[in-house]
């Protein structure tokens, strides 16, 4: 974790956070700058094992729908719609990986097929019970990012 005090403070300011709850950056307040999100979304370090589960789980990340990854070879059916993620941490920094998971369309292009996992910039007619909700929670994003940073070759 490269969490700096100013970054946490900034996160607090962005969300207007004052209470005793976790310091979560709201989806609309995440700043993607230079294809990166420097600050943790929660201030709590991500857990790579949890991240791997979220990554594979069909109702959470379901990242395997599109990406193959050797580290999860035991899971069935890896898609090939998108690049394999082996060695992805050699290609992107932690802050860049966070930005990709938060909103790939802001990092690659608006044409990207990859959903924004912590974004409210979504399609039309969102299912009623999901309106205003992100695909992953802030902590799940941190967990997935922690898992991605283990993918080195």
């Amino acid at each position: 974790m490269r969490l700096t005090v100013p970054a946490i403070a900034a996160a607090f300011v962005m969300t207007g956070w004052v209470g005793a709850h976790a310091a979560e950056v709201a989806p609309g307040d995440v700043q993607i700058e230079d294809m990166a999100v420097e600050a943790s979304l929660t201030g709590t370090p991500g857990n790579p094992e949890e991240g791997a589960k979220t990554f594979a789980n069909r109702s959470l990340g379901n990242c395997l729908a599109c990406h193959a990854v050797e580290a999860l070879a035991k899971e069935q059916f890896h898609g090939n719609v998108a690049p394999p993620l082996d060695g992805v941490a050699d290609r992107w920094s932690q802050a860049e990986l966070r930005a990709i998971v938060v909103d790939a369309k802001k990092v690659f292009s608006d044409e990207s097929m990859m959903p924004g996992f912590y974004s409210l910039d979504v399609g039309k007619n969102v299912r009623e019970d999901l309106v205003g909700k992100t695909i992953l929670t802030a902590q799940q994003v941190e967990d997935v990012v922690a898992f991605l940073t283990t993918l080195k070759e």
Binding site: M35, R58, N62, L64, A65, C66, A68, Q76, F77, H78, G79, N80, V81, A82, P83, P84, R91, W92, K105, F108, S109, E111, S112, M113, P115, G116, D121, V122, G123, K124, N125, V126, R127, E128, L130, K133, I135
Partner: protein, 286 residues
């Protein structure tokens, strides 16, 4: 053309990070389909204005076993429903004391190739009708019977029976009738509009990622020429509007009602995208 968004993204990555170009693909099979010895057109040159050069039947994207089941009408479990449809064709229902056969006689003659040209313009309602809605119109206006409920087994069986009379005939719509072109335009807009929390359009999967695996599913062009299809997975016929709704639901969106204007426009447009492919009803899917 294919995979344009992937390649655009990949090229961008390459520029930024120098990552290796990624080129995994899973192409459709290079095989030909005959059903009971009758050759099917599973690859056809795309009509003008189509995003692809060639339109491809969903059959080319299925596993060997699924493909083989469709080649033999005795093996194809969807044929049971087609036979049920044949019975319904001859069954009297409604206050007028008529069956479909009372007016149309032998479907092998009167319905031959008809299904290959639906949806068709209906001047009375000022809308396109698909086979299901055409059946309902006959039931209500000519038989004094009630319209079927969406996906009622009889609706699927009779639709499959009628479409099956066009087995092998290339799909072709007449867009010059009535306002068909306006509905085509509207359907096209829907096809490219991203929906739901996952923020995806039909084109995202069936154009941009066609030929790739999305988890265990081999993405086809999403053609309609085999509908209603038989699915092993659910052990029965799947109607086209059920499939449309399923795909929209998978983007985590609310989905429109079956036969709503929105889905009828989509049917017109997506049917056009498969111009030239043989009708394969009932196609077999896993």
């Amino acid at each position: 053309m294919k995979r344009y968004s992937l390649m655009a993204g990949a090229a961008f990555c390459l520029a930024v990070t120098g990552m290796a170009i990624w080129t995994a693909a899973a192409d459709p099979v290079d095989e030909t389909l005959e059903i009971d010895g009758v050759p099917m057109t599973t690859r056809a040159p795309a009509p003008e204005g189509h995003p692809f050069d060639e339109v491809l039947s969903g059959w080319l994207f299925r596993e060997a076993e699924t493909r083989a089941t469709q080649e033999d009408t005795f093996e194809n479990p969807g044929m049971i429903a087609v036979e049920e449809g044949a019975e319904i064709w001859n069954t009297v229902e409604g206050s007028a004391g008529k069956s479909c056969a009372s007016c149309h006689d032998d479907a092998a003659v009167s319905m031959k190739d008809v299904g290959a040209h639906y949806p068709k313009w209906d001047a009375d309602s000022g809308k396109p009708l698909n086979v299901e809605l055409r059946i309902d119109k006959c039931r209500v206006e000519n038989m004094g019977a009630e319209a079927y409920k969406f996906d009622q087994p009889e609706q699927k069986a009779l639709t499959a029976f009628i479409k099956h009379q066009s087995l092998g005939t290339p799909v072709e719509l007449d867009l010059s009738e009535g306002d068909m072109q306006t509905w085509w335009d509207r359907g096209k807009e829907t096809y490219y509009t991203r929906t739901g929390q996952l923020n995806m359009a039909c084109a995202t999967c069936h154009e941009g990622a066609m030929g790739h695996y999305i988890r265990a599913d081999h993405l086809s062009q999403g053609q309609v020429n085999g509908f209603p299809t038989y699915r092993f997975n659910t052990g029965g016929l799947v109607s086209l509007h059920n499939r449309f709704r399923g795909c929209i639901r998978d983007t985590r969106a609310e989905f429109p009602a079956a036969f709503s204007d929105e889905l009828m426009a989509l049917e017109v447009y997506v049917t056009w995208r498969g111009t030239g492919l043989s009708v394969e009803t009932p196609a077999v899917r896993q």
